[in-house]
Amino acid sequence: MMTYIVFILSTIFVVSFVSFSSKPSPIYGGFGLIVAGGVGCGIVLNFGGSFLGLMVFLIYLGGMLVVFGYTTAMATEPYPEAWTSNKAVLGAFITGVLAELLTACYILKEDEVEVVFKFSGAGDWVIYDTGDSGFFSEEAMGIAALYSYGTWLVVVTGWSLLIGVLVIMEVTRGN
């Protein structure tokens, strides 16, 4: 099973994306987001990015989605729409899953397929060779780079986060 773990996690990833794209109420959509985030972490972890996976779990799931869950609970409606509540959401969900299944079947049937890039069979899903990484973990080098020659990026992202807060305050002010 461990050889197919990335494949299984990717499948759960796609299905949870479809689950919140079919637009149920935000509570259920948030649940889909949590599953997608957690499983995405798993995929990153499987490629050796242990620090980044942990960061996503802690900050994204444990910080941002928790706040999202609380605000959604404050603003919830008396009868939220789940995936089996009406035909619209269920139909959208089934359409999404069917589209993904058909894409996967199309890619697996042929020997070599070029959708945006060349893809040759299920083997490409199991082993994805990103090249020779040498002795250093690429992920750790990337994070180190962010704080050495990526200083401008840190400044811009920090400023954007501050502006995000100010904009949200300004938009929800209301008078």
Partner: protein
């Protein structure tokens, strides 16, 4: 909006566009667009009514979709070239996606549907920022990728934009919607010349921004938003009335005024590249634009609309409206044609 917050937000709008224009890394281009979008939302919602909120929501949704498409194009380019540098040799698939994304950001047809509705729902000054400053960033990226843009895609969008801008603006009386359709048509002209001479696109953008800035400032001076209230300007400020006359003729592209320079240069550029049908169609559909500018001129400066008798005996107070930079802008919007021979330094 409190002044410190307003200054911070305007600073972010400006720096977002500056980042897009000056960076050489595709990720920073995307970040610049997102910073710009996020910070312009409270500016669109300056008036606290549901119409402004709806306009800001529509703007956010379309621009966010366009940013997603742009990111897809960036990643496809990364996949095929292996590096993040903004250069002029793009993968064709990436180039098509980026062109469509930037056309959505500009409001080129067939992605123009948000422009009139968003412009109508917001205040005049927000509309000014939307139609002038927000065009600079996408056009600068199109300028940088112009050698690899698929010609049929861009020229189709250009001719459709000029047609939509012409026919769409015909039945409008609201000034903001008229300016929105005018913007769509001008973007079409700019897209048409982008393949052959990106410098002329910059020329068109500069003159378009000067003219639109002046138009909006004249409308804001009178606080008019409809054609019927514009028709009462002759009594309030007769000078503004004559300026609107000349400015509308300049926007329509009539010869002795500076609005003619970009149209002339674009038609010259297109005909030198052996395209005959295209500039003919562009020039003919620009006449539709000229028709509704003429209608504004007619109601403002050439006729006196029916009004009651008390209106003609106005007690005139001293004007307290600030007209920052308006006289130089009016001169630049109408009298630049004699400087056109200076364009020969561009060769």
């Amino acid at each position: 909006m409190k002044p410190p917050i307003f200054i911070t937000i305007m600073l972010t709008v400006i720096s977002g566009t500056m980042i897009v224009m000056t960076t050489s890394h595709w990720l920073m281009v995307w970040i610049g667009f997102e910073m710009n979008l996020l910070a312009v939302i409270p500016i669109l919602m300056k008036k606290y009514n549901p119409r402004a909120t709806e306009a800001a929501t529509k703007y956010f949704l379309t621009q966010a979709t366009a940013s997603m498409l742009l990111m897809m194009g960036i990643i496809i380019n990364l996949l095929h070239s292996g590096q993040w540098t903004v250069s002029k040799d793009l993968n064709p698939m990436a180039s098509i996606m980026m062109t469509i994304a930037l056309a959505m950001k500009l409001g080129l047809a067939p992605f123009h549907f948000w422009v009139p509705e968003v412009t109508q729902g917001i205040s005049m000054s927000s509309g000014l920022i939307l139609l002038t400053w927000q065009k600079i960033a996408p056009l600068s990226i199109l300028y940088q990728i112009s050698p690899t843009i698929n010609p049929s895609l861009l020229l189709t969008m250009a001719i459709m934009s000029v047609m939509v801008g012409g026919w769409g603006g015909l039945n409008q009386t609201q000034l903001r919607k008229i300016m929105a359709y005018s913007s769509i048509a001008h973007m079409g002209w700019m897209a048409a010349i982008m393949m052959y001479s990106p410098t002329m696109m910059i020329l068109n953008l500069t003159i378009y921004i000067i003219m639109t800035l002046t138009t909006f400032m004249l409308f804001m001076h009178n606080s008019t938003t409809t054609t019927s209230s514009l028709s009462q300007t002759w009594n309030k400020t007769p000078l503004i009335t004559s300026f609107i006359l000349v400015l509308m003729m300049s926007l329509g592209g009539l010869p002795p005024l500076s609005g003619f320079i970009p149209k002339w240069m674009i038609i010259q550029g297109l005909t030198k590249n052996e395209m005959i049908m295209m500039p003919t169609l562009l020039a003919m559909t620009a006449l539709l634009n000229l028709y509704f500018y003429m209608r504004l001129t007619y109601t403002t400066a050439l006729t006196m609309f029916p009004s009651n008798n008390c209106m003609k005996m106005k007690w005139r107070f001293e004007c307290t409206e600030k007209t920052t930079f308006l006289p130089p802008l009016i001169v630049m919007s109408t009298m630049l044609l004699p400087l056109a021979p200076m364009l020969s330094i561009l060769d």
